[in-house]
Subunit: 355 residues, 2 copies
DNA sequence: TTGTACGCGTTATCAA
DNA sequence: TTGATAACGCGTACAA
């Protein structure tokens, strides 16, 4: 007993300690806690009593997961600061769908930022995850991705290309954006500018040349759709999907009164809202002097009573689909890629090109 | 070699395999990956080559965390569906602050729903976390909490009482709500109704009697503040902080034209927005026929051009404070409880009581 | 700078 | 229904 106390005071009780105290074998004690095998009521109670006497509160998650190979954790990897998971309305809806679909699986969601394996914390590669959902997939991720996949961890990517064998939950970004662009062309616009989402991890802000290296898939695809219709469009990148970024980009585009575009294709609704504000600042009317389109179909505060011309995307469904896909893969089934479709919605922020 | 291949095909290479292949000891190989001890460039390269030859991609997170006792994961526990983490604007802001404060720590955030240890998935008790942040703390949690604390895992609670020794990040809910109520009394209101947030995990919707058992701390505190001023107020609980819930509650309150309150204290801005909508539906003018107050100070879509009379709370700061607190505790420092203060903001949704 | 030896806490398997 | 055994894969004193 003296020994036991000494031991107890220095280290936490383990399941072996409990077993010893209860006079059973460790495996029996283990079974009492896991419930995976029938145990006689008598031993069961003895073990539980021993446990509470020793202050043992159940198996150590780390050890259990080493042994079983499962942690019950699904990693969700973002390319940007984790805050975007919460502040970007589209991601927010996606996460809701994802949480929904993953719940029956009993899994928790681990929010990860891919910062490369250099930084201290858990990256995709160092976290004990059972599966991973990537939100976009840029260069950085590619590398970690191979590692994860080589470990046999199921991976699904939302809006991005993670290579062969990784199911994709996609959106018809290019086609959808082309649709909005065509709408503008149909209205007679020829001098068009594009305000893009971040083009890469460094998130520079400013003009984008024709040869620019765009590593963010969504940005690239939507831009391609716009350029399909307006190959000569001026392109300006924002540092994030925020109203303020749209405002900054709009100011830049409208700075020179002699060289103002008659239409602006923004790659998100928030950016569009910012551009509209910039237009008003510059004394332009929307849509009489300049037309603006968005992307996402979310509710943007402060835009009312305007209705944005935009592309509605099924954000929640995308998340849910990703959840179902990882759930399937965890259970050993196959998961297929899936592409969702945007719906063009004409509002009152686009009109005929000014003469 | 034949043996090696046989082994490789059946199980994943471990660091020992790599060491053997490279002709060094396991510990040396380990050091190559962890970088905790200088290694000669030659051995280093040999190990790396062996690793890539064997397809070894670095230490297994599960084993590593068993050994080191750290996982780099901070658990965030919600009482409700995880979706609320993303759909409730206040929680959203909190999470942003939390992510922010935890980032330098290099930790990932694990979103957990506390559904009691029965359910299968990782709960607070079965997840490999280094620390936990509780969002609220009701009965369910209490139990898991003891377990976690007995394991020596630092815990912080936002808006809740988790018992002695658990630092709290709080809000002056009661005082703030009392302030809004006093404002109404000052305007001459006497017949007042309260629309509350969920009162417990079952989230019933409907009238709340005087003796009701309210397990959600925030709800209880804010209600107490309202009752401090209007002890006889009718109380109606909503099933969540949504506009639609406020709408439903409002309809119930305004159903009988003979017994309509002249003011409604809603426990969140979203609820308030719903109540206002219900009032309009019922042909009542705000604030001429009925005054409405909210709580939170967030931007509610569709409310413009109205400005809600409400209590602004520093949601982001609360999250950040919680993050700093767990960071401190993980590093062995102490963390103190902290209480934030709401600011009363008078809008145009409250006015003199109708005669 | 490298190697030896051991323990981290569990659980699966199989035999009794 | 219970127990003995053997991993699970790694990190780290400590000695060489």
């Amino acid at each position: 007993m003296g020994y036991d106390q000494a031991v107890m005071s220095t280290r936490r009780a383990t399941i072996s300690d409990v077993a010893r105290e209860a006079g059973v074998s460790p495996s029996t004690a283990s079974v009492v806690f896991s419930g995976k095998t029938p145990v006689s009521e008598a031993t069961r109670r003895r073990v539980l009593e021993a446990a509470s006497a020793l202050g043992y509160t159940g198996p150590d998650p780390r050890a259990a997961s080493l042994r079983t190979g499962r942690s019950g954790i699904v990693g969700v990897v973002f390319e940007e600061h984790l805050g975007t998971a919460f502040l970007d309305p589209v991601k927010t809806l996606m996460m809701d769908g994802l949480a929904d679909a993953v719940a029956p699986l009993g899994a928790g969601l681990l929010l990860l930022r891919d910062q490369g394996p250099v930084f201290g914390g858990p990256s995709l590669t160092t976290a004990p995850i059972d599966a991973a959902v990537l939100i976009g997939c840029s260069g950085f991720l590619r590398e970690s991705l191979d590692i994860v996949r080589s470990r046999g961890i199921p991976v699904v990517v939302i809006e991005g290309d993670a290579g062969e064998g990784v199911p994709r939950i996609g959106l018809d970004n290019r086609e959808a954006q082309r649709q909005a662009a065509s709408h503008l062309r149909g209205l007679g616009h020829t001098d068009v500018a594009v305000v893009t989402l971040p083009i890469d991890a460094a998130r520079p802000r400013g003009p984008v040349g024709p040869g620019a290296d765009i590593t963010v898939d969504v940005t690239r695809e939507r831009l391609a759709g716009a350029l399909d219709v307006f190959p000569d469009a001026r392109v300006h990148s924002a540092a994030g999907s925020f109203i303020d970024e749209g405002l900054a980009a709009g100011r830049a585009l409208f700075a020179d009164p002699q060289a103002r575009p008659t239409a602006v294709i923004a790659q998100s609704d928030l950016l569009a809202a910012g551009v509209i504000r910039a237009a008003e600042e510059a004394g332009m009317r929307v849509p009489e002097d300049v037309s603006v389109t968005g992307f996402d179909g979310i509710v943007v505060d402060g835009l009312a009573p305007r209705v944005l011309t935009t592309l509605e995307q099924p954000a929640t469904d995308k998340g849910r689909a990703a959840g179902h896909a990882v759930a399937a893969m965890i259970e050993g089934r196959d998961a297929a890629s899936l592409s969702f479709t945007c719906v063009f919605r004409e509002g009152d922020t686009t009109g005929p090109a000014p003469r």
